[in-house]
């Protein structure tokens, strides 16, 4: 009876956020399952497990990958980055600061995937245009924010990381001033 459990097991050493971990897992399990269930790195989320929502995105060798579509065995010997590795010691990554301060996270469930894809983008393109940000994140769904605030947060994070003083306008935090109606 135990055969279905043991016959399919495999082992691997995964390099996750710069730390090597030896893991034992059923060979058909995805990187998503192994991160969450074997490594207790539950920051990486799942919304469909079919490659449709982007919630499970991580970086593998610096490239965004849907961890629900990659077998954990395929990730062996490659560098894996997850949301848990984004902060440096106790200091937030600029992306994390920007998302937190701009209210670009609401329920926060899609955010780990979005943060990782955005990190990959900022490494490739430190000063992305709005269009480049939207293009990079086109595979990530978010149901709370309406996306625009996320685009702004990525732009702001890029500026912070470059040491540029640009920041979103006051009206992005406080609302647009009420326009004065002409003739009143």
């Amino acid at each position: 009876m135990a055969s279905t459990l043991t016959s399919s097991l495999t082992t691997a050493v995964l390099s996750i956020n710069g730390e090597d971990r030896a893991v034992v897992f059923p060979v058909h399990h995805t990187l998503l399952e192994v991160l969450r269930e074997e490594c207790a790195l539950t920051g990486t989320k799942h919304g469909c497990e079919l490659g449709e929502c982007g919630a499970c995105a991580v970086l593998v060798d610096g490239e965004p990958v849907l961890s629900c579509l990659m077998l954990a065995a395929e990730a062996s010997g490659r560098t894996i980055e997850t949301v848990e590795g984004l902060q440096q010691d106790n200091a937030l990554h600029p992306l994390q600061t920007a998302f937190a301060d701009l209210g670009a996270t609401q329920c926060g469930y899609c955010i780990p995937g979005i943060l990782m894809v955005a990190k990959g983008l900022l490494v490739r393109e430190p000063d992305p245009s709005d269009e480049q940000i939207r293009e990079a994140l086109a595979g990530n769904l978010c149901r709370c924010t309406g996306y625009n605030r996320i685009v702004l947060a990525v732009k702001w994070a890029g500026a912070m990381a470059r040491g540029d003083e640009w920041r979103p306008a006051d009206e992005d935090f406080l609302s647009t001033p009420i326009p004065v109606v002409s003739g009143q």
Binding site: L50, E84, Q87, A100, C107, A138, S182
Partner: protein, 846 residues
């Protein structure tokens, strides 16, 4: 108002109105937030539900003989072990944990397999064989009317019609008689679903003997608690429900669900933790989303654009179970009177049972559909009457603090300012009707509840409670049953307590949504949390402040009411140096009074309506929104783009403007999704595959929702009306801003290319169809042809406030007709009376 309340009133807000970082932000951006599926416990087993492949059938036999012998299988649960029915509304206790003898839609759960691993549970679930005796399936309201037998449920108003409503307020016929223009429209709003990114998940852990803890992704832990007690037949005191941070709800996690009951029962039975996490396909089967609604609206207008009478008929496709449907049915008419003056109103509605996943509450609950019908209808009337659509709305605004024809007590109304803001922002006056061909602007408005006036089940108790614990550390612990679903309710709660006590957010810690540890709050639905939890938090914090002020006042020999709480200190007004740090102030109070704790609670004012059905619609106050949308339409293909949305929202008072903007933008996004593409569609399998009625696209790829490339620029304006019934003047923002978006798009398409699409979603092919009809000389319109013939029954006739009614139905023996005396709303005596006469005004609500 006590003296120190006025001190607080005089104090400049330290936090409120400022864009502070939400209290859960750090956890959410570092991956530390623990959602339900992130939890795991030693010896945890996994559940997989076996769901029906038939849309409507009697179950002949469930064969588990192969499945139960499969590796890792611990137990297979069938419905007869948990026979007690349940449902969110007391009037619709029509669900079974697992179907016992009948299934009502493809996806209805029949059995639960629990195994050591998820893979094993999944494999065994596939091996459970169900033998069905197929029944005719009902796929629409029309079919439900045509096929009354066999019934999907053995209760309901008649045949396969679950609920019928017929209400008449005021002199409707006279109003039509006096009208210069009578306009009729038939409109269809397709159903759609919440699509939260987080799949539902629940974990149950047995504790000691006969006690159980359930962790779940739920918006309503209190209602889940009640249902578990009912179905498990355990005292509620032995059940603890904890709502984890919810990864998106939008109304989709407000019902108690099968898998929650299953894991709780199995954890107790097996004596080990049990988890169920649903697949995305299963989330589509849970549904409880927007009802498809066919509507017929007929309105009489004066030549200057005032509405004199309206008759609205709605037909709701409810799906396989009651869910919140009775409330949804009333909501397809209840809030029609909240934005513009309407002296006479007739509303008829019917909800059908159909063999589809049950519909329920989605953001705006029952209101977006009739709001779409009304706002498109008004646009047409404005054009017929030669009045600017923005101007026509401004002329007919409902007066603040008035009582509507259907007896809703309105509060502050910033709708006029909202309209003016979006008109100015969009350049409406210069651009409406004058843009180049293919470009257009459209305007629409909306109003929404700030919490339902009544709880889901009748009781005398508060709808929200907050408890504070303070001690010599200077930290303040806040306990409240409210559930954070992403909307920022934790931050509102913490900020209100911090503001009243003059301390920083870092000194406030929260314990929320835990039925063992936190006072009851009814949950995150009906946009109730900021207002109701806010009031309870203010009361609890003011009581703590008063105790501290007394102790500090005595110690410093200063009158307590001269003390100010600010910047982490308690000091004498006008002399900040004469005072104590907050932690020393708490020490003084702890020494004086002993261990410190306070409570606060909130019960909404009683609404003036006393007729049957008056329970749905009342709220302590209403939020208002106006939106202008600019679109560009390709007249060759019907394809269109939304270029810009200007939206102004009457928030009362923004507790945190950044979070308010986030809710507005999220509502605009979700409204655009519904307007442009989202639909919960069904199809029949070919005959060789059983002809079952199945979900057309239970996946995130095929269920189209807007992505990063689909969002236009949004310009948001906040209008602050400082509502007297809101905490610090605050109103809701989570749902209201969705309402005007959908009709504003339809109206913009009309301005762009001169066609009407009376149907949602507005697919480009409908735009094209309307353009082609126009080109052939027919009416340039796409939409439903006719409203079915439905016998809604005799109306309940209610005199309006204007007619001197007292809120009761005409046939109510206590009714005071045409006496000209207003009603006395809101007293505890009225509340007691109403509770005694459950039948007069009682109806569940959400």
């Amino acid at each position: 108002m006590s003296a120190h309340q006025s001190r607080i009133g005089q104090k400049r807000f330290e936090l409120l109105g400022k864009p502070f970082r939400r209290v859960d932000a750090r956890a959410k951006v570092t991956g530390q937030t623990r959602f339900a599926d992130d939890l795991s416990f030693p010896r945890m087993a996994h559940v997989k539900l076996v769901r029906s492949t038939a849309a409507h059938a009697n179950i002949k036999h469930v064969d588990c003989t192969v499945a139960e012998k499969m590796p890792g299988v611990l137990y297979i649960l069938l419905g007869d072990e948990l026979p007690v029915p349940y449902g969110i509304l007391p009037v619709s206790q029509d669900e079974q944990t697992l179907a016992i003898d009948k299934v009502r839609f493809v996806g209805d759960p029949i059995a639960a397999v629990v195994a050591l691993t998820e893979d094993q549970a999944h494999a065994a679930a596939l091996a459970v064989k169900v033998d069905y005796d197929l029944l005719p399936t009902i796929d629409s309201v029309r079919t439900a009317l045509k096929i009354p037998e066999p019934r999907i449920h053995d209760y309901g108003d008649e045949g396969n019609i679950h609920k019928k409503v017929s209400l008449k307020f005021g002199a409707v016929e006279d109003g039509f008689e006096q009208s210069d223009l009578i306009l009729e429209d038939t409109v269809f709003f397709q159903g759609n679903t919440h699509l939260p990114i987080e799949q539902h998940s629940a974990v149950a852990v047995p504790e000691d003997e006969d006690r159980i803890t359930l962790y779940s992704a739920t918006q309503t832990p209190h209602y889940v608690h009640r249902v578990l007690a009912r179905v498990l037949q355990l005292p509620a005191s032995r059940i603890r429900v904890i709502a984890c941070s919810v990864g998106g709800g939008f109304g989709g996690k407000t019902d108690p669900f099968n898998h929650e009951i299953v894991v709780a029962y199995l954890a107790l039975k097996l004596g080990r933790p049990v988890k169920a996490t649903l697949t995305r396909e299963e989330v589509f089967y849970c549904h409880r989303g927007r009802h498809p609604v066919l509507m017929h609206i007929r309105t009489g207008f004066s030549k200057d654009g005032a509405m004199l009478a309206q008759h609205l008929r709605t037909a709701l496709d409810g799906g396989g179970y009651g869910s919140y449907g009775v409330a949804s049915t009333f909501y397809t008419g209840a809030l029609q009177t909240t934005t513009y003056t309407l002296p006479a109103y007739r509303f008829e509605a019917a909800r059908a049972f159909t063999n589809k996943p049950p519909c329920g509450p989605k953001r705006g609950h029952g209101t977006p559909q009739p709001r779409f019908a009304l706002e498109v209808h008004l646009d047409k009337a404005a054009h017929k009457l030669g009045i600017d659509p923005a101007e026509m709305r401004l002329r007919n605004l409902a007066p603040a603090d008035s009582v509507t024809a259907n007896w809703l007590q309105l509060g502050s109304i910033g709708l006029g300012e909202c309209i003016e803001a979006v008109v100015a922002g969009s350049g409406w006056k210069e651009r409406y009707g004058k843009l180049p061909a293919g470009r257009g602007l459209g305007i629409a408005c909306g109003a929404y509840l700030c919490g339902a006036g009544l709880p889901i089940y009748w009781n005398h108790m508060p709808q929200s409670g907050v408890q504070l614990k303070l001690d010599r550390s200077g930290g303040v612990a806040v306990f409240c049953g409210q559930a954070e679903i992403g909307q920022g309710s934790d931050s509102v709660l913490a900020a209100i307590v911090a503001e009243v006590l003059g301390i920083s957010l870092a000194d406030v810690r929260l314990c929320v949504a835990d039925t063992d540890l936190t006072p009851v709050d009814l949950g995150s639905y009906s946009s109730r949390v900021t207002l109701m939890v806010g009031h309870a938090a203010v009361q609890a914090a003011e009581r703590a402040r008063d105790m501290i002020a007394k102790a500090v006042g005595d110690q410093l020999d200063v009158p307590a009411n001269h003390l100010v709480f600010a910047e982490g200190r308690v000091f004498q007004a006008g002399d900040p140096s004469a005072g104590l740090d907050f932690s020393d102030a708490v020490i003084a109070a702890e020494a004086r009074f002993g261990t410190l704790g306070t409570t606060g609670s909130y019960i909404p004012p009683r609404a003036p309506g006393r007729y049957r059905g008056a329970g749905v619609g009342p709220s302590p106050t209403y939020s208002y929104t106006a939106a202008v949308i600019e679109t560009e339409v390709d007249a060759q293909t019907g394809m269109y783009d939304v270029k810009h949305v200007w939206v102004a929202h009457d928030i009362g008072k923004a507790i945190n403007p950044t979070l308010v903007l986030g809710q507005i933008e999220g509502s605009v996004y979700m409204g655009l999704g519904e307007a442009m593409m989202e639909e919960q569609e069904f199809r029949r399998l070919p005959k060789r595959l059983s002809s079952a009625l199945v979900h057309k696209m239970p996946s995130m790829l095929e269920y189209k929702s807007p992505g990063f490339h689909d969002m236009p620029e949004i310009t948001s304006y906040l209008i602050e009306t400082n509502d007297k019934n809101g905490p610090f003047g605050a109103k809701e923002v989570g749902q209201g801003p969705l309402l005007p978006v959908i009709p504003a798009l339809a109206n913009a398409i009309f301005d762009a290319v001169g066609v009407r699409v009376d149907q949602v979603p507005i697919h480009p092919d409908l735009v094209l169809k309307a353009l082609q009809a126009g080109a052939r000389g027919k009416e340039a319109r796409a939409g439903p042809a006719a409203f079915p013939d439905i016998d809604f029954g005799e109306p309940i006739i209610v005199d309006t406030p204007e007619q001197g009614g007292d809120g009761r139905a005409a046939d109510d023996p206590k009714a005071r007709r045409n006496s000209g005396v207003g009603s006395s709303a809101g007293t505890m005596k009225d509340r007691d009376q109403a509770l005694k006469e459950k039948d007069s005004a009682s109806l569940t609500t959400t």
